[in-house]
């Protein structure tokens, strides 16, 4: 018996005791012994051609096969074939994946690598629950704060206090921040001016300007609503201006993407159920955070093995759309005022690779008079944010961020994108590299142009 087998046996025993024995009806697949098994059809599509290799940021950095999409799929399959065990050495490449989905764009056979990674993480976390500091941090942040609206608001409140009270200035001056790891310190430096969350402050339905074209639901998100409530406000204004009543159902919550990425599929499912219920009266659910949008669109995937929830999840996922695509497809109002600025656009992974939305946001920007678009080389390569990857893997995330900032053309004034995680990460990069570009959400530019239109009408 080799070491891996011993570890597995122990893990099995522990989990059996914890879960009061193995559920008799639970099916297993090779060395996958836990509920919610990975889907063999997903790896059956992979013929090991290698077209994904150079699309993968972690392979580009390491050149190591097990850190490539093809390699990860191969390892995940190898566990199902009983060739290798679920242990640290297997967990590492699976958790080092950014889940950026660039491989899915490159793949000739549409292998769903992202889904497979998430399913494997689910198995790993059941086989090897996080312990020690990591476990505590993960539980506090993922299970304690994100799914809990009140606590999240309180965190936002604290941050507002931190900034407004002068505490931030004191902290920065005294060097107290120096005790933080460097990537956390860099992040503190770019904390956006925290406003008040939209959800709860706005009515449940914000009426359209003028005649209504219909009602749309909007996910306010957690990071977005706490860190970038101004983006949420802008999104509501833009939708209202385009003639839509915007619904903000109070029962909505965190989309669960971070939990699913971390292998906690159970919490992910609970959160998904909540959102499916919250938006049941809406035909459209619009999202301005690419990561959340992608997660909502994949709820059907999450409930793959749950025949009861599956039809509801499928119906829900079909309703979800990124706000930029919705506006473009529905003949958005072309602004008339000029916003004279040079701008470049960064593709958020979960928008470009996850949802296939690349053209529409660029087109929204291009159709604002005065906006000059400058191409960003490799615009759809991950910036390193990747949910909380920049917190869990600062070294790799830092490398990717440096590359992203290096690629940003010298002469632009703004960098536009459609995801809060990227906005924080790239803002951090701009600060760290001593550059001056403003980081904005695509919808914000449209909002500014509309506001200018309105002012001109008034004057």
């Amino acid at each position: 018996m080799n070491v891996g087998e011993k570890e597995r046996e122990t893990v099995n025993l522990v989990s059996m005791l914890e879960n009061k024995g193995p559920a008799c009806e639970t099916k297993t697949l090779g060395n996958y012994l836990w509920d919610d098994l990975p889907d063999p059809d997903k790896w059956a599509d992979c013929v090991h051609c290698g077209m994904c290799l150079e699309a993968c940021p972690t392979y580009q950095e390491t050149g190591e096969e097990q850190h490539s999409p093809r390699g990860r799929v191969y390892l995940i399959k190898a566990v199902a074939e009983g060739k290798i065990d679920i242990n640290e050495a297997f967990a590492k490449p699976v958790f080092d994946c950014l889940d950026c989905r660039a491989c899915e764009t490159a793949c000739p056979a549409d292998v769903q690598v992202g889904g497979l990674i998430e399913e494997a993480r689910g198995q790993i976390r059941q086989a090897m629950p996080l312990t020690g500091v990591k476990g505590v941090v993960s539980k506090t942040v993922l299970n304690g704060i994100f799914p809990n609206k009140k606590r999240l608001d309180r965190l936002g409140g604290f941050m507002r206090f931190y900034q407004k009270s002068g505490l931030q200035k004191v902290a920065r001056k005294t060097g107290v921040l120096n005790v933080m790891p460097s990537h956390m310190k860099e992040m503190e430096a770019i904390l956006p001016e925290v406003g008040k969350p939209v959800l709860g402050r706005y009515p449940e339905e914000v009426p359209a300007e003028g005649e209504s074209k219909g009602k749309v639901g909007m996910l306010t998100g957690c990071v977005m609503d706490v860190m970038f409530s101004d983006v949420n406000e802008a999104t509501i204004r833009v939708l209202n201006h385009n003639g839509y009543d915007v619904g903000l159902p109070k029962q909505q919550g965190c989309c669960g993407a971070l939990h699913i990425h971390a292998g906690d599929r159970e919490t992910g499912k609970e959160l998904a159920k909540k959102n499916i219920e919250a938006f049941k009266d809406y035909d459209k659910v619009l999202v301005n955070a690419a990561g959340c949008g992608c997660a909502l669109q994949e709820y059907d995937e999450l409930f793959r093995n749950d025949p009861e929830m599956l039809p509801l999840a499928e119906e829900f996922s079909a309703k979800v759309e990124d706000v930029s695509k919705f506006l473009y497809d529905n003949d958005f109002k072309r602004p008339e005022s000029e916003i004279n600025t040079k701008i470049t656009y960064h593709d958020a992974c979960h928008l470009a690779h996850g949802q296939g939305v690349r053209f529409e946001p660029r087109q929204l920007l291009k159709e604002i008079p005065g906006v000059e678009m400058v191409d960003l080389p490799d615009a759809d390569r991950c910036c390193g944010s990747a949910g909380i990857y920049n917190l869990t893997h600062p070294e790799m995330a830092g490398k990717l961020l440096d590359r992203k900032i290096d690629d940003i053309p010298e002469n632009v004034e703004m960098i536009s994108m459609g995801n809060p995680g990227c906005m924080l990460q790239i803002a951090m990069g701009v600060e760290k590299h001593g550059r001056s570009e403003k980081v904005v959400h695509t919808v914000q530019l449209l909002d500014w142009a509309y506001e200018k239109d309105k002012q001109q009408v008034k004057s």
Binding site: C46, V47, Q66, Y74, E88, D110
Partner: protein, 487 residues
């Protein structure tokens, strides 16, 4: 490496020695990491390496090779691992020397139209890095998004455009090579073609990593053609399409590319990532590209359209813009990978035949497909008679891999019997070593292994590849491998 570091737990002294040369983080030795290196783009045979070592410069390659020689441990050079004949797949127990981190361009001399790159340099990156200046690198294997130029040299890779421009060997001006003795040698004087004496560049290129490890490559770069036009022709009868191929060449036109795809293949690519909207009920289509000086292109296109029509084409069209042309090519180049959408596994063959024998050979391949009850898709370079029958199978169905393997071998037999060859561009590797007997006698094989012995006397470098070796027992090596794993 990145993320949390693991403690090094190995009692393999060889791994320790390799770490002393390249650094601790540059050697993989844990089973879970090594599994990912069990095979390359050819998945039918798998073997576990003993370790994977990442090298960063020529001297390191030499030091690693010397260390392995001393320990008498077999080793393999590996690039991106996109090869289709198992050239970078271990038989079991070899140390893999990964060249992917040697990926710099060392020198670019556009005036003399050449570039010097390290072996891990990605094929397509070369073209991308010089295209704005009006140049490109001609060999374009379909895996060019990911494959390395070092790997291209080892396999003498071709590509869709080798009909007019030739394969890798026609584009190599010089090599720096680490020989199995550890000695570093330069072959060819940069930029001076056709030196007197034996053509060692020709010998090294396509030697499938059995003669030395390439550490520097000087390649030719070409000026972008002034004009380029692409035609798509749909056929109801595969014989008509085959005849059109022969007639186009017979008319004196040398297209840059002349590709064919049959019905099963079309089903695959249309179900995958880059569907063009090809009709599903056609028997085959031809993708024809002409390039060169602007002036003659339209005349050539006219002639091609005429030939297509004479051969009962259902529909024929010229790409209306670059976007359409790019889509047609993406659909074609992603063809192999696209098979994943309609089959769990595939085995691709690489036979070469005289163009005029296309109809009968394709008919025989259909017969083989019936005999083994396995679907066979054909995506291939029709212009130079380089067939790629893709045998679709499911490795998880007992016996199906063996059937696929036999069907593949029979396809090659057919090619050899009509006066062709068993490989055009994918190499022999593990896959076709037995089939070498279809085209070479024992004496001819021996003459070749004698040459190998001059370079690689202990046969430690990529052993068991390229030639049939009845004496070598794979099982013995595997047994050794098991011992290694138990450590």
């Amino acid at each position: 490496m990145f993320g949390r570091k693991r403690k090094i737990k190995t009692s393999d002294p060889l791994v320790r020695k390799l770490m002393d040369i390249v650094g601790e983080s540059e050697v993989l030795f844990e089973k879970e990491d090594l599994v990912a290196y069990e095979c390359d783009g050819y998945t039918m045979y798998k073997g576990m390496p003993r370790a994977v070592v990442f090298v960063h410069d020529t001297q390191e390659v030499s030091d690693v090779v010397k260390c392995l020689n001393e320990a008498e441990v077999p080793y393999i050079a590996r690039g991106a691992g996109t090869g289709l004949s198992g050239g970078a797949t271990p038989l079991g127990g070899e140390v893999i020397i990964s060249l992917v981190r040697m990926k710099r361009m060392l020198h670019l001399d556009l005036e003399n139209r050449k570039a010097v790159v390290e072996p891990g340099y990605i094929n397509l990156k070369l073209t991308q890095s010089i295209s704005d200046k009006g140049y490109y690198y001609a060999p374009d294997p379909s895996s060019q998004y990911a494959c390395t130029i070092g790997g291209n040299v080892a396999e003498n890779s071709g590509g869709a455009h080798c009909l007019k421009y030739g394969v890798t060997t026609n584009h190599i001006l010089g090599l720096e090579v680490v020989l199995p003795s550890g000695e570093i040698v330069d072959i060819g004087v940069e930029g001076v073609p056709d030196l007197p004496g034996y053509d060692l560049l020709g010998l090294l290129t396509g030697s499938e990593g059995t003669l030395g490890i390439v550490t520097k490559v000087t390649v030719k770069v070409l000026k972008n053609p002034e004009g380029k036009k692409t035609v798509l022709a749909y056929y109801d009868d595969i014989d008509d399409a085959s005849q059109a191929v022969s007639d186009i060449i017979a008319a004196g036109i040398i297209p840059a590319a002349l590709e064919m795809m049959d019905q099963v293949a079309i089903e695959g690519v249309e179900s995958a990532a880059y569907p063009v909207g090809h009709p599903r009920d056609i028997a085959a289509f031809l993708l024809i590209e002409v390039d060169g000086i602007e002036a003659g292109i339209d005349d050539q296109i006219e002639e091609i359209l005429t030939v297509c029509k004479q051969n009962n084409v259902r529909e024929v069209k010229v790409a209306k813009d670059e976007a359409e042309r790019a889509l047609w090519w993406a659909n074609r180049k992603m063809g192999f990978g696209a098979m994943g959408a309609i089959s769990p596994d595939y085995l691709v063959q690489d036979g070469v035949i005289p163009r005029t024998r296309l109809p009968e050979v394709l008919a025989e391949i259909r017969e083989i497909s019936r005999k083994y009850n396995l679907r066979i898709a054909n995506i291939f370079h029709a212009g130079d008679g380089n067939l790629h029958p893709l045998i679709l199978y499911d490795a998880s169905v007992p016996g199906e891999s063996e059937r696929a393997s036999k069907a593949g071998s029979e396809c090659l037999k057919v090619c050899a019997d009509v006066g062709g060859s068993i490989t055009g561009e994918h190499g022999v590797g593990i896959e076709k070593s037995a089939e070498m007997r279809f085209i070479f006698t024992d004496e001819e094989l021996e003459a070749q292994t004698n040459i190998r012995e001059v370079f690689n006397p202990q046969d430690l470098l990529n052993p068991g590849k390229l030639f049939p070796q009845p004496g070598r027992c794979v099982e013995v090596k595997r047994a050794n491998q098991d011992e290694v794993q138990l450590v």
